[in-house]
Symmetry: C2
DNA sequence: TATTGTTATACTCTATAACTATA
DNA sequence: TATAGTTATAGAGTATAACAATA
């Protein structure tokens, strides 16, 4: 198992490190996926600030919007959030009158989650903003490249 | 601004929510990139457990391995870590005798970071394990698709 | 005056155990 | 008994301010 090129021999008068070599990390999918996700999230935080929504809040509201009556448990499973950690988020969103809990029609233990009128109105704008912001972040990709990228990402994390 | 198909009319005897619809979130690059990154990281944590390396530790060691003499400041800039948060990591890696601090040749304030012999030996195995693990996670992608995916991700987060 | 490394500290995120009320 | 929602709490991860030594 050969070690490729001999290291830059630190014992010379070489200037320690001038330009940092990250070529190995850049061969790793995990490294690149994380950097890309963080880049998008940075812009997300800026542009969604007017709505006071962080990515998790947005995900919760969006899933509730498209699945009225969904239970907390279902939300947790879908988004990979642990139940104790969801409670605070839902409480906060309820205090902001964007979301509300109603008794589940057939399970006395569960609560169905719904958007309020204000919540629905806000999410229409917020989802549009999110889509626009992503298009900006991915502006160096053609529409076809973006579709390819998303489809390949799904292949990585999707169960089947 | 029309609202597409009428909602599943919760007021009927409909079963609240049966299958959760995440189709909107799945159109978002940020959502998909984050899910994919988390999927890779999960497997990373399992398979790198024998080395007792979390993703950050691995990144630090890998960059030091390929850039002997690099300063803490350079490491922080490269990996997006804040200086106060790097201190503890380097201390821990130093205590494990994988890394060591040496005075910088030309800057009395700075310390150059280097891998120990044990650190170099371990990272040769660890980097091989990381590459193998990623190939497994991306097993549903062809080699060409994986190359495409990584190249598109770089286009998203890279400065230029 | 500016920068490197560091300490102290606070805030957020994520994780575990255990309780209650319903099933 | 098992599950939904909740509480309390612990542990990572991430953030800012400030200081000593050196540039």
């Amino acid at each position: 198992m050969p070690r490729p090129p001999s290291p830059p021999s630190r014992s010379t008068s070489a200037p320690a490190v001038e330009t940092v070599d990250t070529s190995f990390l850049e061969t790793l999918l995990g490294y690149n996926a994380r950097r890309a996700a963080l880049a998008v999230i940075d812009v997300f935080l800026e542009r969604m600030a007017p709505y006071q929504l962080k990515p998790v809040d947005f995900s919760v509201l969006s899933v509730v919007a498209h699945n009225p009556g969904i239970t907390s448990r279902q939300l947790c499973t879908t988004l990979g959030i642990l139940p104790p950690n969801l409670v605070g988020m839902v409480n906060a969103l309820e205090k902001r009158e964007l979301i509300l809990r109603e008794p589940h029609p057939r399970d006395g233990r569960a609560m169905g989650l719904h958007l309020t009128g204000a919540g629905q109105k806000m999410m229409r704008d917020a989802e549009q903003t999110a889509a626009a912001l992503e298009a900006d972040v991915a502006s160096r990709l053609s529409p076809t490249e973006l579709r390819t990228l998303i489809s390949l990402l799904k292949k990585v994390y999707r169960p089947a």
